[in-house]
């Protein structure tokens, strides 16, 4: 293979695997960083309802909680300001984690509506007694069918509805102080 007609070795090709490895490494590093800062969630699923009005539903109240019931009519625009809809249950541990954030929002005057998902009414009322009640309205979704209409796949899940009654944001998982400050507050200001 020493004469001139033989193909010349293309040395740059030797660096292709190296380049691929560097590229993959950089991507992997970005993913790991994103996991740490919360920018990247491999299990995150975008909601199909973003930009659409809340689905039709009508949920009964929880008598012991002494709060008005929640129906889709309460979420139709025009609304005086953005509202939050929070799916929760007394058996849900992350719901305890996010509870202080909901309490803060409610104290600041943001309407937080609750949907109690697949729960016992007494347990739900006891939960609110013990941890405090952040909800302006509270509907009871015993069968979980209303949640399915919202595309909920687990509790807690939180939605932001703007003044026109359109769903602007969905967060699956607990509203930690970080999520509250970094995501929810800017959105509340934007849609105020």
């Amino acid at each position: 293979m020493s004469d001139a007609s033989a193909p010349r070795p293309r040395r740059w090709l030797l660096f292709v695997p190296f380049g691929v490895a560097v590229g993959a490494g950089a991507g992997f590093y970005a993913m790991l960083r994103g996991l740490k800062t919360g920018d990247y969630d491999p299990r995150g699923v975008p909601s199909a309802l973003i930009g659409r009005p809340a689905p039709e539903f009508s949920l009964p109240p929880i008598e012991a909680a002494n709060l008005p019931a929640l129906t889709s009519a309460d979420l139709r625009g025009p609304l005086p300001g953005p509202v939050i809809v929070n799916f929760w249950a007394s058996w849900c541990v992350p719901c305890i984690i996010e509870h202080p954030a909901l309490m803060r929002l409610s104290r600041e005057g943001v309407p937080v509506h609750g949907v109690n998902y697949k729960d016992r009414a007494n347990d739900a009322a006891a939960f609110l007694q013990r941890h405090g009640n952040p909800y302006t309205r509270l509907g009871r979704d015993e069968s979980g069918r209303a949640a399915i209409d919202w595309g909920v796949f687990g509790v807690p899940e939180t939605y932001l509805i703007d003044r026109q009654g359109l769903i602007r944001w969905r967060f699956a998982g607990p509203i930690t102080p970080d999520v509250l400050e970094r995501d929810l507050r800017p959105l509340l200001r934007r849609f105020a």
Binding site: M1, S2, D3, S5, A6, P7, P9, L13, R43, V45, P46, S47, A48, L49, P55, K118, S143, G144, R145, I148, D149, W150, G151, F153, G154
Partner: protein
């Protein structure tokens, strides 16, 4: 790159290996079909409709476990969705309407076979992109290898060959 001239030698696998591989593949694909999750009381009484429900359910992802279909998953949500699929079929919805019902609520991710749109175009095109890229790399090399004439023997090699042909050699 030194292998360019050796193509087609002893590369094809033993035929028996191929059969064994195909059998394993079939077995792996049959696995999920044989397993049945779900409570008997949730199933439809009409076997044809129940079969259709199972076929639809296998196309829908359970968002709790994410890599299982709602037919295969034991999650609570999967059970609810299995029931909804059956309710709607029993109420006279066709397959497309049932799938649309779930798709409207849970988005593209719920479909194991996502629709072709601007967001999923790259996903669908990926096999073609990968194949095209591979061909671009392999074809020029094959053509070059086919074109390359074997280099003529030099003086020393010719002498050695003569020796070998005469039955001499070391």
């Amino acid at each position: 790159m030194s292998g360019a001239g050796r193509r087609g030698e002893g590369r094809s696998p033993h035929p028996l290996h191929r059969v064994a591989f195909a059998a394993l593949l079939l077995l792996a694909m049959a696995g999920p079909a044989l397993a049945a999750v779900g409570r008997p009381e949730d199933r439809l009484r009409d076997p044809a409709l129940e079969l259709q429900a199972q076929q639809i359910g296998r196309e829908l992802r359970c968002l709790v476990c994410q890599n299982e279909s709602i037919e295969d998953s034991d999650a609570d949500l999967a059970r609810d969705l299995r029931r909804i699929v059956r309710e709607r079929l029993a109420a006279g919805d066709d397959r497309a309407a049932v799938v649309r019902f779930v798709h409207e609520r849970y988005g593209d991710f719920v479909l194991f076979r996502p629709p072709f749109n601007a967001v999923t175009a790259l996903l669908w095109a990926m096999p073609l992109v990968a194949l095209g890229g591979g061909l671009l790399m392999v074809l020029p090399r094959r053509r070059r290898a086919a074109r390359a004439e074997p280099a003529p023997l030099n003086e020393a090699e010719r002498r050695r060959l003569d020796e070998l042909e005469r039955g001499g050699g070391a």
